[in-house]
């Protein structure tokens, strides 16, 4: 027993790369990414599953990483905002956020991008209503949402 209690080894892939780290199994997936794996792109917002800033995908499913135990990452595919772009090229959604002013202070942006990218992957023609329903768990205190909705609409058109 260390000061942090019993440790376990978590093996998973993060944005396609294999990772293996020791931590307490109840460490949140958010703390695992930021403090154990050292990947700080995923942001901490409310830490109660309310704001979506820490959204990641787990085997392709969007979750709030602050309310997921690291133990549940074992053997899974973890997706963060870092996995959305190639090294020298932003994704269509990231470009649309830049062009439409979908990001201001940036705290909600990684979660917005991860959650939005998952919606785009479904490949349907997006409507404002569908976007607002899907993105309802991602809070932004800067843009007023209009520009974020516009960014998703533009990315959806780009990809078609």
């Amino acid at each position: 027993m260390s000061e942090e209690g019993e440790l376990t080894t978590i093996r998973c892939t993060i944005d396609g790369s294999p990772h293996e780290h020791r931590c307490h199994p109840l460490t949140s997936a958010l703390d695992f990414l930021r403090y154990v794996a050292g990947l700080t792109a995923t942001k901490e917002g409310c830490k109660e599953g309310e704001c979506g800033a820490c959204a990641i995908t787990l085997d392709g499913v969007v979750v709030n990483s602050c309310v997921v135990p690291a133990a549940h990452l074992q053997g899974r595919r973890v997706g963060t905002v870092l996995g959305l772009s190639r090294p020298d090229e932003l994704s269509a959604l990231q470009k649309a956020f830049l062009e439409c002013g979908g990001a201001q202070c940036g705290i909600c942006t990684p979660g917005m991008l991860v959650t939005g990218a998952r919606l785009l992957e479904e490949g349907e023609r997006l409507t404002e209503a569908r976007i607002r329903e899907h993105m309802a768990g991602n809070l932004c205190r800067c843009t007023g949402y209009g520009k974020i909705v516009e960014s998703l609409l533009r990315a959806s058109e780009e990809e078609r």
């Binding site: 209690g5 109840l26 599953g49 309310v67 135990p69 993105m135 768990g137």
Partner: protein, 291 residues
Amino acid sequence: MRARLAGFSLERPGTLDEALGMLAASKERLTLLAGGTDLYVYLNAGVARPGRWLDLWGLDELRGIHEVGDHVVLGALTTYTELRASELIRGALPLLAQAAATVGAVAIQNRGTLGGNIANGSPAGDSLPPLLAYDAEIGLRSARGRRFVPFDRFYTGYRASVAAPDELIEQIRIPLGAGSSSRACRFVKVGTRAAQAISKVVAAFVLGRAGDGTVDHCRAAFGSVAPTPVRLRRLEQHVIGKRIDPALIRTSSDVLLSEIAPIDDIRSTARYRRFVARTAWQRFMEEVPGL
């Protein structure tokens, strides 16, 4: 800030039998972890109960939605996303699908479970009034065996239930006819905003009428108006055998108000909750099809 985890440990059983064995052998009460959407709020805030936690999330025996005989059987780990997507639930038990769509938003619906909503026991749990309105039974499982408890007798007080320390919720069983399309039904949630809001008042109503127009079946269930989710039995009895008319809507509303006991808290006031609960019921009654 990282949560302090000294004093917490996690057991990860590979099978349901293994989990039941751990529950049976434990001297302390284990904390049962499913999707974590409630427990991690407590853990991150530093108010979770330390000790041994038992991780149920990997137990496939607790998943799935099936029609078994004349019941719909839902595994305790059924998520809100699965409830929303299920043709069976949308067709036979629509209030449950509607409630699932109002819980949190996509990321929470992907992780939050029906069994977790029941076990957490918040009086504001959105899936709980539909379960009451549909005469759900809770299937409790332990190494000693399995038993079913009618959901309206599951809670014994605020966040307290009949589940023994060695029992876990295995499944939820609902009669197929509970949501019959010949009955009028409605789910109502009133919160601060559409998504991510904890309910100020949440309700589920089911009402059936005989050929002569008199009410022959009624369920009225509310959350956030008492220490536990509640079925208003006096209200239900009051309308049985009667025709729906303005007088019945008025008198039944008085019965409703005498039967709920909401409080003032951070989300709302007792006065507002009484007003909303009555209005939800009145609108439902006024809008029952065929009146």
